[in-house]
């Protein structure tokens, strides 16, 4: 079954900068005509360095920013938020999780309110129903009902990222955009959050767009990989294709830059150092 949840056709995003008292206005193309499709239950990883347009693309997918041109289809339906108003139904389909769990939660909001708010805004559920659903969701992401009345500062980084995941799942979306969800976390906490994401994907048949610059994480979680460089897609294919046979020189640079922790590489490095000394 190849159910396509998300499709982008030639998506372009331009920003206009300058144009003040001095100097002429400039147009910067952050995303230069990107094509991709994601099937239901799969994970597409978008890889690239800061400034390559991967987060801009993520914001377009999540209906936060409009595309300048090109077509975006979610569940087969074309959508352009510059022209159409976003219906609550569309909002429910796509949710996003941000990189920094310290910045994405309101410090004055209790966890219960954090989780109830998407339901309050987008559904007609009563307060009791919202509370019940929030409690259930806390258990699903590995926290407990006792956390309902706590504030964000009472949680560790990994726990906060779990809360952000819980909030994104409250509306049972079909597509989840994860913008560097584990880069701010420690190695062992990163492993826990990645496991949680894999569990949730299995349970709810979720589709992920996973934005990252960490290739070892991408190799672990992705089905398809798209490498971006200065707004353009320089490599796009299944994980095995991209990792076993990278075509573009930028992808090769990226692989070369990733730290190698296997014993042979360490031995080679030490031998080289001894020779130099």
């Amino acid at each position: 079954m190849s159910d396509i949840v998300l499709e982008g056709r030639n998506i372009v995003r331009e920003y206009h900068v300058g144009g003040g008292l001095f100097g002429k206005a400039k147009t910067v193309q952050a995303v230069k005509g990107v094509n991709f499709t994601v099937e239901k239950g799969k994970t597409l990883a978008i890889v690239g360095e800061s400034g390559c347009g991967k987060s801009t693309l993520g914001r377009i997918l999540t209906l936060i920013d409009p595309q300048t041109s090109g077509e975006l289809l979610i569940d087969g339906k074309p959508i352009n938020i510059a022209k159409d108003k976003v219906t609550t139904e569309m909002r429910r389909k796509v949710q996003i999780i941000f990189q920094n769990p310290y910045g994405s939660l309101n410090p004055r909001q209790k966890i219960g309110e954090v989780l109830g708010e998407p339901l309050l805004l987008n559904t007609n559920k009563t307060a009791a129903e919202r509370r019940e659903l929030a409690m259930q969701m806390l258990v699903k992401v590995g926290l407990g009902p006792e956390h309902y009345n706590r504030y964000p500062h009472m949680f560790s980084g990994g726990q906060r990222q779990r809360i952000a995941i819980a909030r994104a799942l409250m509306l049972s979306p079909s597509l989840l955009v994860l913008d560097e969800p584990v880069s701010a976390l420690d190695l062992s906490v990163q492993a826990q959050v990645l496991n949680l994401l894999a569990d949730l994907q299995d349970e709810f048949n979720l589709t992920y767009v996973f934005i990252s610059h960490d290739l070892s994480v991408v190799r672990y979680i992705a089905d398809d990989v798209m490498v971006m460089y200065y707004g353009e897609v320089v490599e796009y294919g299944t994980r095995d294709e991209v990792f076993s046979n990278p075509q573009h020189s930028y992808t090769k640079t990226l692989f070369a830059a990733t730290p190698k922790s296997d014993v042979e590489s360490i031995r080679a490095r030490i031998a080289k150092k001894k020779a130099a000394a």
Binding site: L187, L194, A198, A257, P259, I266, A277
Partner: protein, 285 residues
């Protein structure tokens, strides 16, 4: 080889409202000249606190005790703070995680670099500028004459970290402490910064302490590794031994949490390790 920094039985406690919290509990540590030592641990393992204690940068609520703490023959425990300030910044320098946050946004990077040269080296204006340009060249910043007049916000994260490194090595320190120097940076930039640090370490014959939670960074840079967990030392070994045959179960847990070492569907986590430990302890008693 001579020991550059030697610490015996270091403990650091913080006075909190719920009593004394011990961040570091009896750690022995030594670095030789021309050696790269990595200290690995998760957040909260006390790896930064131990180094801040050496630098004398901890807040007043902290209590530092040690049997001995010597740097290059100087006793750091009984030293007056005036004497300590002469050594810190000149013979021992430190680089922090957030390059953007460690530079002062109100002054040009050139001013901040020359300040170190003025205070520690007592150079005159012309010599300072010449040395600043030389340092920027060493750390690989293009067109140094112009970049010296830039403010931190006009530079990228990787460039700011290069400025921080230039400031740190300005007085040819004997020991450089790098606290998560690449955590905030992209992989390609991370590679450049690590290469730069290792090159400078070899060229200047410095001792280098890398504090990190990233096993990849350890594998790429270290000679010797200390693994720390909850304020105690779990393991100390040279880098090859650590990756080839880790002794401590905690090190094994850390290594198996690396995504590239994933076997099967799910990653193993340190929490699993803790559970197993608890189960074993229960079985013994």
């Amino acid at each position: 080889m001579s020991k550059l920094l030697e610490i015996k039985n270091l403990s650091v406690g913080f006075d909190t409202s719920s009593g004394m919290f011990m961040a570091v509990q009896g750690i022995d540590l030594s670095v030789e000249a021309r050696e790269v030592l990595a200290i690995v641990g998760e957040s909260g393992s006390g790896k930064s606190v131990a180094m801040l204690a050496v630098m004398g940068l901890l807040p007043k609520s902290a209590t530092v005790t040690a049997d001995s703490m010597t740097f290059d023959g100087h006793d750091m425990l009984t030293m007056t703070s005036k004497r300590r300030r002469e050594i810190i910044g000149r013979d021992v320098a430190m680089i922090f995680q957030e390059p953007m946050a460690s530079l002062n946004p109100c002054f040009t990077v050139g001013f901040q670099l020359e300040e170190v040269l003025r205070v520690h080296m007592k150079l005159d204006k012309k010599a300072r500028r010449a040395r600043a340009i030389e340092l920027f060249k060493q750390v690989g910043i293009p067109t140094p004459e112009e970049r010296l007049n830039s403010y931190p916000h006009q530079m990228s994260g990787g460039q700011c970290q290069r400025v921080m490194i230039a400031i740190a090595i300005a007085c040819n320190p004997k020991l450089l402490i790098a606290d998560e120097p690449t955590t905030a940076l992209d992989v390609t930039i991370q590679k450049q910064i690590l290469d730069l640090l290792v090159r400078l370490q070899a060229e200047h014959g410095m001792g280098l302490i890398m504090i990190t939670h990233d096993m990849g960074v350890v594998a790429e840079t270290a000679d010797r590794v200390i693994v720390q967990y909850k304020g105690t030392k779990m393991e100390e070994a040279d880098v090859l031994t650590l990756f080839e045959a880790p002794k401590s179960p905690y090190t094994r847990a850390l290594l198996s949490a690396l995504p590239e070492n994933a076997t099967g569907d799910r990653l193993s986590t340190v929490a699993d390790f803790m559970k197993n430990e608890a189960a074993n302890a229960g079985a013994v008693s």
